[in-house]
Symmetry: C2
Subunit: 252 residues, 2 copies
Amino acid sequence: MLYVVGIGPGGEEHLTKKAEEILKNVDLIVCYKGYKKFVERFNKPIYTTGMKKEIERVEYALRESKDKDVALVSSGDATIYGLASLAYELNEKKNYNVEIEVIPGITSASSCSAILGAPLNHDFVVLSLSDLLTPLDIILKRVRCALEGDFVIAIYNPMSKSRKEPFLKTIEIVKRYAEKNNTNYIIGIVKNAGRKNEEYKIITINELINNLEKYMEFIDMNTTLIIGNSNTKIIDGKMVTPRGYLNKYKIE
Amino acid sequence: MLYVVGIGPGGEEHLTKKAEEILKNVDLIVCYKGYKKFVERFNKPIYTTGMKKEIERVEYALRESKDKDVALVSSGDATIYGLASLAYELNEKKNYNVEIEVIPGITSASSCSAILGAPLNHDFVVLSLSDLLTPLDIILKRVRCALEGDFVIAIYNPMSKSRKEPFLKTIEIVKRYAEKNNTNYIIGIVKNAGRKNEEYKIITINELINNLEKYMEFIDMNTTLIIGNSNTKIIDGKMVTPRGYLNKYKIE
């Protein structure tokens, strides 16, 4: 049996009971090498591979699942940019015939929203800027559609050392919508959510553009951005998207 | 101190350690009356209000937080259609000066994705069809933007006994895009996620339209819909949105 388990944003505190229980009871844990430390406390055999070795990792997990209980660990949620769909695809293509169960976890959009205040408190988009598996033109079309719909936007994988173009083009598009709609979009930036070195900043699109180099030094692969919608505001230093109660019930 | 706590989809198993610890340690729990049973095991004083009494509930929680530790409980995540933003707004407007911390939880999109397979394994939109606080024309514009961007779409609050129009109009728009793009969108429907009477169906937009009455009897306020993108498929009876690994690495 294969369990694809989301372990949340990093620290132990956001692990669910179900995920904890599964990791305590399986025979083998398979994960990205960066998460090895996190799963060591379960005292199980651990198999890891590095970045871009996802297929090997999932195939190993599927093969071992034929006669063992295996946990394939994803950070955050198990399906949101996780390895659950690849497990289903390879299970069918290579005829492993393994039973698969997905255990959800706290995704970065949720954990970063909580850190920033409540920016995700209305309709939103979750979008990855990594063009490794998705063509850049599709990513940028999605950025435009998200802004056109005035969605709050949670951006995963904003940039890496070698991949800055999707981020720069995204910021260009946000700037254009900011001018068109006369809205200085509020942007929350969270780095290392749920880890010891967690940091966050709440700025605006104008502030970001005026100090682009500074912020680009701050942002990395462990950073999530949340761009507010046209109603998002800053309250007591926190980023808050109203749900609409105060307008509805006319509370002054 | 006020903790706005997301308790996940319903059962205890998806509660995080942090949420559990907070609920064990506060002096008072404030929640929607429907969640009273869930929080009784913590043996704390409980204050509840009903539907449409969110402002009274949050004001009570803020008032009590001045000299107590209070948990304001939301199902799912604390910010995603939860009460966190209202707490920040009222705290400022009414000068409560209470310290607020948000504890994230597993949102319905994650828990339903895990139940259905892995439909949320690429860029997605989370959208509520409730027009109680959001005008219907904005909701429908967001539906069009989401389809235009070929996002997976997680739909919360699809309909209630008295509110069916947003759902019917949404289905009309999905049908139009299905015809335009020649895509028979796959739709996952999950009812009572994480509860004893959990049920799910995986169908297509054509199947939904051809048996609309039947499915409208099934769908209620405790139902979440996930509409796939143009690449979403059914594998071994599960709904799966590929992330793109198999195309990228040309695995046949």
